[in-house]
C-alpha cells in the first residue's frame, strides 16, 4: 500500500496544476529558520552544551499602501526547544523541554521596523542526549502575524478535543487586517564530526539576467515598503538601472544564484562519502517562477531559473519581493531578499 501511495504521489504531483505553486507568496508564511552556534555563526550544527541562536524568515504578500504598511504585519511568537522523541513516522514530537529559552515567547517590539531578537537556548549535555538516543534537538512553535499565539486552542487540539487548529487569536494589532499564523518545527541536527563541522551555505552571487541585481532593492526590501507605488523609488537611478527592472508582459527574466566552493561540503555517513546538494527555494509575491525548487550540485555551484512578470502593472509600479533560501540538507541555511519594481508595459 505504501508503494501504491508513492506512485499516486507521483501522479498527484504531476496533476496539481489547480493550485498556486509554493513559490507564489500569497499569504503569511515562515519559510526558513537559521540556526547559528553562538560565537561561530558559520557553523550550522551545534554540539552538546553549546548555545545556539535561531532566527526565522517570515514573509507575506506586499501590504497595501496604508498606514502602517508592513510586510509582514507585526509578529508574535511562542516557541519551545526540546529533546525529541525518537519517532520515525508522523510529525516530530517533543519529549523533554529545554529551559531556559531567551526570546522564545515574544511580543512585537515598539519599533515595528526593529530587527526581532534572536531566540537563544543551550543544547543539553551529552549524557542527557544519550539517555534518549537523541541525535538532534527540536525547536517548535507558532508565529502569528497581526495576532498572538492561542495557547488554549493549541492545547485543546493537541489533546484531541478539537480538530480545528486555531493557532492565533486577536485582537489584531493592525485593525481590519487578518490574523494569520503558522505552526513550524525546526529540526536541529547535532554535529557529527566536530573536526569538520557542517557550515552554512554562502551565496557568492545573485544575478538578474546575467548582471548584478539593480538597485534600489539590491540589498533587501524595507519592511515598510508597500506593494504598489515603487516607481518613485526608481527615480534617481541611471537609465540602465531603471531598465533592468522588468515591465509588465515582458519575457521571463533569468535569476542565477551561485555559492562558494566551501558551501558544497563532503561528508561521510556509514563509511560512504557524500557531497552536499544545495536546495534552492524560490519565492516571490508576484509573477511566476519556472519551478519552486532547484538544486545546486558540485561542480556547477550555481543554478538558474526563470521568472515571468505579470501581464499588467499599475502606473505607479508594483513591487515584487523575492526571497531565495538555500539549504544544504543537514541544517545549514542561508537566505537573501531582493526586490523588483515592475512598471507598466512600455514605461520608460
Amino acid at each position: 500500500m505504501k508503494y501504491l501511495c508513492l506512485l499516486l504521489l507521483f501522479v498527484v504531483a504531476a496533476c496539481s496544476d489547480n493550485f498556486a505553486p509554493a513559490s507564489a507568496v500569497t499569504d503569511f508564511r515562515v519559510v526558513a529558520a537559521k540556526v547559528e552556534v553562538v560565537g561561530e555563526p558559520e557553523r550550522a550544527n551545534p554540539s552538546a552544551d553549546e548555545p545556539v541562536e535561531v532566527s526565522l524568515l517570515a514573509i507575506d504578500r506586499g501590504a497595501p499602501p496604508t498606514q502602517p504598511s508592513l510586510t509582514p504585519w507585526p509578529l508574535q511568537w511562542a516557541f519551545v526547544p526540546c529533546v525529541p522523541l525518537p519517532v520515525t513516522i508522523g510529525p516530530p514530537i517533543c519529549s523533554v523541554p529545554i529551559e531556559p529559552c531567551e526570546g522564545c515567547v515574544a511580543a512585537p517590539p515598539d519599533d515595528p521596523l526593529a530587527e526581532p531578537e534572536m531566540m537563544r537556548f543551550q543544547v543539553p549535555s551529552q549524557s542527557e542526549l544519550d539517555q534518549v538516543g537523541a541525535t538532534s534537538v527540536l525547536f517548535q512553535g507558532v508565529v502569528c502575524s497581526n495576532g498572538r499565539p492561542s495557547e488554549d486552542a493549541l492545547l485543546r487540539f493537541l489533546r484531541g478535543e478539537t480538530e480545528d487548529l486555531a493557532l492565533c487569536e486577536g485582537p489584531p494589532t493592525v485593525v481590519d487586517q487578518a490574523i494569520e499564523g503558522r505552526f513550524l518545527t525546526v529540526q536541529i541536527p547535532l554535529e557529527r564530526n566536530p573536526a569538520d563541522p557542517n557550515l552554512q551555505p554562502e551565496i557568492l552571487s545573485l544575478l538578474l539576467n546575467g548582471a548584478q541585481w539593480p538597485p534600489p532593492y539590491d540589498q533587501g526590501v524595507p519592511r515598510n515598503s508597500p506593494g504598489s507605488g515603487c516607481a518613485a523609488a526608481l527615480e534617481g537611478l541611471t537609465p540602465e538601472q531603471r531598465a533592468a527592472h522588468p515591465r509588465a508582459g515582458d519575457m521571463s527574466s533569468s535569476i542565477d544564484v551561485s555559492v562558494t566552493q566551501q558551501s558544497l561540503q563532503t561528508y561521510t555517513v556509514d563509511g560512504v562519502q557524500l557531497t552536499e546538494e544545495i536546495q534552492v527555494s524560490w519565492l516571490a509575491d508576484g509573477g511566476n517562477f519556472e519551478s519552486t525548487f532547484s538544486f545546486i550540485t558540485d561542480p556547477a555551484r550555481s543554478v538558474l531559473t526563470q521568472w515571468e512578470p505579470f501581464e499588467s502593472a499599475p502606473e505607479q509600479g508594483q513591487l515584487v519581493r523575492f526571497n531565495i533560501v538555500l539549504r544544504d540538507g543537514r541544517g545549514g541555511t542561508a537566505w537573501v531578499e531582493r526586490g523588483l519594481c515592475v512598471l507598466p508595459a512600455g514605461a520608460e
Binding site: 501504491l4 498527484v12 525518537p86 508522523g90 538544486f295
Partner: protein, 864 residues
Amino acid sequence: MLRLTWVLLFTVALASGAQAQGGREVGGEEAAEKPLITPPKLIRFVEADYPASETEGEEPEEVAVELDIVVGKDGLVTEATLARSGGEAFDEAALSAARQFVFEPARKDWEPIAARIRYRYVFELKAPPEELTTGWLQGTILLAEDDSPARSAVVEVIDERGQLIRDLVAGPDGTFIVTDLEPGTYEVRVSGGEYGELEASEELSAGEVTQVIYRLGSKKKDSYRGFVATAVVDAPPREVVKRTIDKEELTRIPGTRGDALRAVEILPGVARPPFGIGLLIVRGAAPQDSEFFIDGVSVPLIYHFGGLTSVYNSYMLEKIDFFPGNFSVRYGRRTGGILEVTTRDPATDAIHGVAEISVIDTFITLEGPITDKIQISGGLRRSLLDLIFPAVAPDDIGIRQAPVYLDYQFKLAFQPTKRDRVRISAYGSNDRLELLLNEVAGDDPAIRGQTQLATSFYNNQIDWRRKLGEKAEQSLTFNVGPQKINFGLGNSFRLEGEFINTYTRGEWRYQITDRVQLITGLDVVVTPVDLTYIGPQPGAGEGAGSGQGSLAGDEIVFTELDGTVVRPGLYLESNARLGEIVQLIVGLRLDYFSEIASFSVDPRVTTIFSVRDDMRVKVGAGLFSQPPEFQESDTSIGNPELSPLKAVHLGLGWEYDAFTQARFGVEGFYKYLWDRPVPTPGGIAPFYSNEGIGRIYGAEFSINFRPEEGRQYFGYLSYTLSRSERKDGPNEPWRLFDFDQTHILTLAFVYNFPRNWEIGGTFRLVSGNPNTPVVGSIYDALSDVYIPIDGRVNSLRNPLFNELNIRVQKKWIFEGWRLAVFLDIRNAYNMQNQEGIIYNYDFSQQTPLLGLPIIPSLGVRGEL
C-alpha cells in the same frame, strides 16, 4: 463363489426440468430447443451379495431388479426406489447396493444437475464372472460458432482395420452414444453438412465410458474437438463459498477489455479498488491479506502496472475460482480471500490460435498437438503504451523507458499412461518504466531525478497427477521462479529485491468408503531473499491516514535482508456424507513461518445441507493465520517477535435454483481479526506490535441468469452490504477500513444478437472509499515542506461511485477461422467520480482527485 454381472440400462429424465418443459411438444423445430444434457455416469459400482435364501432349489439364470435412482449434483445417490421387483430378497440387496453407488453427475450445459435414472440391477449366477471387456463412446456435437447442438450430424465409427463398425445420427440435442466397443483405437468421423466434417481418434478401454465433445465449424472445413474427458470426477465442493466464472464468459465481461481476471470485480464481496488498479479487496480484507494462485501456485503479481492488464492471457485460461472466505485447508498463510486461476490444457485436435491488437496491447497464442499424447500451447503479449506515452508526457520529463509490459506463457500436456497426467508450464511477466525528472515535479523537492519501476517474475512448473488405484490419487507440483522488483523515486526511496520463489505441493486423496474421502497434503514455500530498502520508516500498511506529505524530511532508514524464508504447511481434510442430505468437511492445517519462528494451527469445518435437489444451505467456521509482511518482521525496521495475524471466519449461505434460468444466492459472513501488526505510536522501536484487531460483517446477494439452452445471453447481479472496521491499539477507537464500501451493486448483462453481434454492459454503483482529512499542517524548516496533520483516520467518505462499461463486438466466421472487432468502453458516460483529495503545498486548499475518464479501447481479434 457366486458372481454377478450387471447390465446398465437407463433413460434420463430431468428431475427438475421436467416440470419446466410442461406441455412443450418434442419433435420438429422445437426439438432443436433442448438443453445440452450429459447423463450421469456410474464410476463406483457396489456389488451386492446374491441373497443366500435364493441359492437353494432351481438356480435361475438371471434375476433383474429395476430401480429408480436419483443422482444428486454431487454424484451421490439421494434416493433409490423399486421400479420392478425381482423378489423381495433381491430387491433389498439391489437397493442396499445401489444406495452406495457413486456417479459423475448429469450435466446441463456445464452445470451439474440432479437426474433420475432407471437402473437394471441383474443378479446372475455364473462362474467364473466375466470382466467387463467393452467400452462405450458417448459424445455431444456442437456448432463452434455458438455452442448450439449440431442436430442430426452423422457419426461413423471405424476400427483400426478401417472397417465401419457403427454409423448413427446424433440426436436433436447433439448427443450420441456407441456401446459395447472392443478396447482399442477408433477413428470417429462426424459429418455436419454445411457445418463441415471432423475426424478424431479415440482410445477406448474396457469398462470405461469415454466422453467427448466435438465442435463443427462452418462452411465445410476445420471443425475442432473441444476436449476429451474420461471418468473425470469433480471433487465435491469443500468450501462454503466458491464462485466460478464460466470460461465461456471470462473474456466477455464489459469494461474488462476481455481480461478474464478483471471479471472477478463483478462478483459479490469484491470491493472496487480506486482507479481500477489491480487490488483484490475481498469482504473487507486488506489487499495483502488475499492471494492469487495459478494452477495451485502462488504468484506475486496478477496485473501489470497495478491493474492495467492481467499477467496471464485470458484465452489460455480454463476457469477462475474465487473463494471470498472460509476456504479449504488446501490454502493457508492468508486471512482474506483466494483467487485460483486454472489454465487450460492445449487443444488436442488441431492447431488453434488467437491474435489480437488493440490500443493498449497486442498478443498472440498458439496451441496444438505434437503427438496423440503430447500437446503444447504458448502465448506472448506486449503493450503498446510506450508508443503513445512520449507523445503525451510533459516536456521536462526525460523518458528513459516508457511504460511497457510483456507477458508470456508456455504449456506442455502429456499423458504417458492412462493413470498419469503431466503438465509442464512456464510463464512470466515483465513491467518496466524509467523516467528522469530534470526538474523537481511540482512543490515536492523529493520528486526529482531518476524514477523507475520494474517488476518481473518467471515461473517454471511441473504437475504430475497419478491414480494410485481405484480409491487413491496423488498430485505433485513443483514450481521455481525468480522474481525481481526495483522501485526508486529519486534519492528518497529505493526498493530492490530479488527472490527465488520455490513452491512444492504434494497431495493425496483417498476414498476410505463410498461416503468418506480423506485428503492430506504438504505444501512448502522456500524463498531465498535478497532485498535492499532505503526510504522512510514503512509504517502501517493500512489505516496510515491521509497518506499525504512529502518524502523530504522523512528520516531515511536502511535495511538489507539476505536470507531464506521457509514456510511449510501440512493439511488434512475429511469429506464425509452423513445420511442423505448432510455433507461434513472437517480440516486442519498446520503452518510454520521461519521469519518469526512461529507455528499456527488452523481448524476449519464446513457443513452442507442439500435440503432439496435445487436448494443447499452451507455453514462454515474456520481459523486462518497469516505471517506479517516483510517490513513488519524485519530485524532492522520491524519486529521479528511478532505473532501471525489471526482471523476467524463464520459463514452461512443459501443457494436456490429457482428457475432453470436463474440461480439465487445469499451469503452472510462475519470475520474477526486479532494480533494485527500495527505501528507503535510514533514508529518507535520495536516499530510494530500485535495490538491491532478488526471486525467485518455483511451479506451478499447474487443472481446468475442464463437461458435454459444455448448461450444467447448471460448476466450477473450482485449486491453486497457490509462493514469493515479496525482498531489500531487498546486505546484507539474503532475506525473504518481503508476500502470499506457499505454498498456494492453490480449488474452485468451480455446479449448475443443475430448475425454474430454481441452487446453487453456492466453497471456499478458503489459507496465511496473512506479517506482521512488533513486538518492542518506543520512547516518543516529543515526541508521546506509541510507535514500534514491528519484528522480522524477514515472519518470522511468519497461520494457514491457509479460507472457504466459497454462492450460491442461483431464477429465474422470464415472457413476455419473467425474475426472479431470489438469496442470496449470503460466509464461510458464519463462520470467524474471522486477517488480522493488533492491538497496544495501547505494543505490549506483542497480539490477532488477525480478518477479515470472515459476510456475506449478498439481492437481486432482473429481466432484460428
